[in-house]
Amino acid sequence: MFVAIRDLRHAKGRFALMGAVVTLITMLVVLLSGLTAGLARGNTSAITDLPADHLVFSAPAEGQKLAFTESSITPSVQQEWASVDGVVSADPVRIAMTRASGSGSGSGSGSGRSAAVAVFAVPAGSALAPRVGTDRVVLSSKAAASLEVAAGDQIELTGQLVTVEAVSGDDEFSHAPVIWAATENAPSSGLTPGNATVIALTTTGGADLAAADQALGTRTLTVAESLSGIGSYTSENGSLQLMRVLLFAISALVIGAFFTVWTVQRSGEIAILKAVGASTGYLLKDALGQALALLAIGTALGTAAASAIGAAIRAFAGTAVPFVLALPTLLFPSAVMILLGLVGAAVSLRTVTSVDPLTALGSAR
């Protein structure tokens, strides 16, 4: 790094320009990652926060993809799953999209406002939502905010008046705030009465889920795998991930192009260093060290700027903008930026290895 550090100090303008590009791309990638995570959370948090490790779906028809909207599990299958060896708990969940409204009556001060909500209906007393009972619902904070109701208020759900037992959590499903309700209060949403959308399983390691699927005509996935069954999540996440991948690719190409031009420009100096005895390993370490220093500084600045913007978004926009500011959304894209930047810079290393020290003696040929 002896020459690399001095190059960085000497050619400040060139490296500042390149560092600014790295900073801006990192900022963009980190912001996009925060937005992607925020949108993903708005699509999936009700599923990912379930106290379960697997979800059971009804097996899709041939040629169809597994989806929450298509799954329907009969009560008998629900009971069969509860008795499978290795299954600790099997809680049916009926999921339906509907509208709810604050009733404007009851003990509280219902507003009369209505909003689209996702109803997660479970049998009264289910471990998934213990405070839910007939005509008693639990609202996520966003649902409560949308309906402008609080605990003790009443809301109208599928034509029935139910009491808000509590406001808890911030679960969302398919970008709709979640209301946990008893099965009797849930909309039918095309499901046969008594049927559930999925069964939330808690299992031990020894459960033979594949065999149970085979026997019961179901399909069991881990909670993470089951997210592919949310149509809006799959398409939205796919587009955002594509944008992220393209940004990563652009950054690798830009950094690769910069270091290639830079290395070609200083090939004369590389020849001198080789002529005075510098090994190829020494020169490669120097070149990669220089790229790493530039990437580390640019990425750190970009991540810091994106963090500040993210914090400002959360402070001023609250939950209106789905943005997640967390270590994984900050550090992972930064690490990928550095890694891909180094891959880009590695393209220039061919020039380092191919420079002939003989060219240092300009008149040799």
Partner: protein
């Protein structure tokens, strides 16, 4: 250490043919002596320097430095040989733009894996020897042509070489500064018992040398006193 170039032939590809740069050249240079190689452009003098510097491997012949044949070494070994025992003084422009005069010397120590703080003392001594202590923190663009050339000489001595190879040291200098650089080379060669081989195009500077070899078309043609020498003959001529 004695440099002994023995019957070296070097050819380059030139289209479909091969151009002979050195044709059975032999010479010996002893410690404490300055050997000048002169000749017209394309005569092979820089090729001879490159062979001695292990920057190029000859087609045949031996390059012995204190009995060790450098022509047989691998690329890694030649880099090590240059790092440890051969100093090279390039033409004026061959300094690293981002490095100060002091750093130009310290980078040699860094490449060799030496302690930089310890090397700093040696580097300042060398800059003192070439009269450049006040310019230690200057970059090449802030130095005159003569000062840059003196930095390259000091850099060539930083690895405490036994063999110093000098390429056209006065090519970018005016007469006065050129003579000063040659005097410095002469003095360092004697004081440090160096085996110095210098390529130059300027016959007026040959009086500085202990021996002069003239190359023509890749062959040793004449000695300084004008005696014809057959190709392949060890050529040493004293001008003192």
């Amino acid at each position: 250490m004695t440099l002994h170039i023995d019957d070296v032939t070097l050819t380059y590809p030139d289209g479909e043919q091969r151009l002979t740069a050195l044709d059975h050249v032999s010479l010996t240079a002893e410690p404490g002596t300055l050997t000048a190689i002169v000749g017209p452009s394309g005569s092979g003098k820089s090729s001879l320097l490159a062979v001695a510097a292990t920057l190029i491997t000859p087609d045949s012949g031996r390059v012995l430095l204190n009995g060790r044949d450098l022509a047989q070494l691998s690329r890694t070994e030649t880099a090590k040989a240059r790092r440890e025992g051969i100093g090279i003084v390039f033409q004026t422009s061959n300094l690293l733009a981002s490095l100060t005069a002091l750093d130009q010397l310290l980078v040699i120590a860094h490449i060799a894996g030496r302690d930089i703080d310890a090397a700093r003392i040696q580097a300042m001594d060398l800059l003192g020897a070439v009269g450049l202590v006040p310019q230690a923190d200057k970059r090449p663009s802030q130095l005159s042509g003569g000062q840059r050339q003196r930095v390259t000489i000091a850099r060539g001595l930083m690895n405490q070489p036994s063999l110093l190879l000098v390429d056209e040291p006065t090519s970018a200098l005016d007469r006065h500064r050129g003579e000063a650089v040659l005097d410095l080379l002469r003095e360092l060669t004697t004081d440090r018992n160096l085996t110095t081989v210098m390529v130059t195009h300027d016959h007026e500077h040959l009086a500085t040398a202990d021996a002069v070899i003239e190359l023509t078309d890749g062959r040793i043609a004449t000695l300084a006193d004008g005696d014809a020498v057959e190709p392949g003959v060890v050529a040493i001529a004293s001008t003192r």
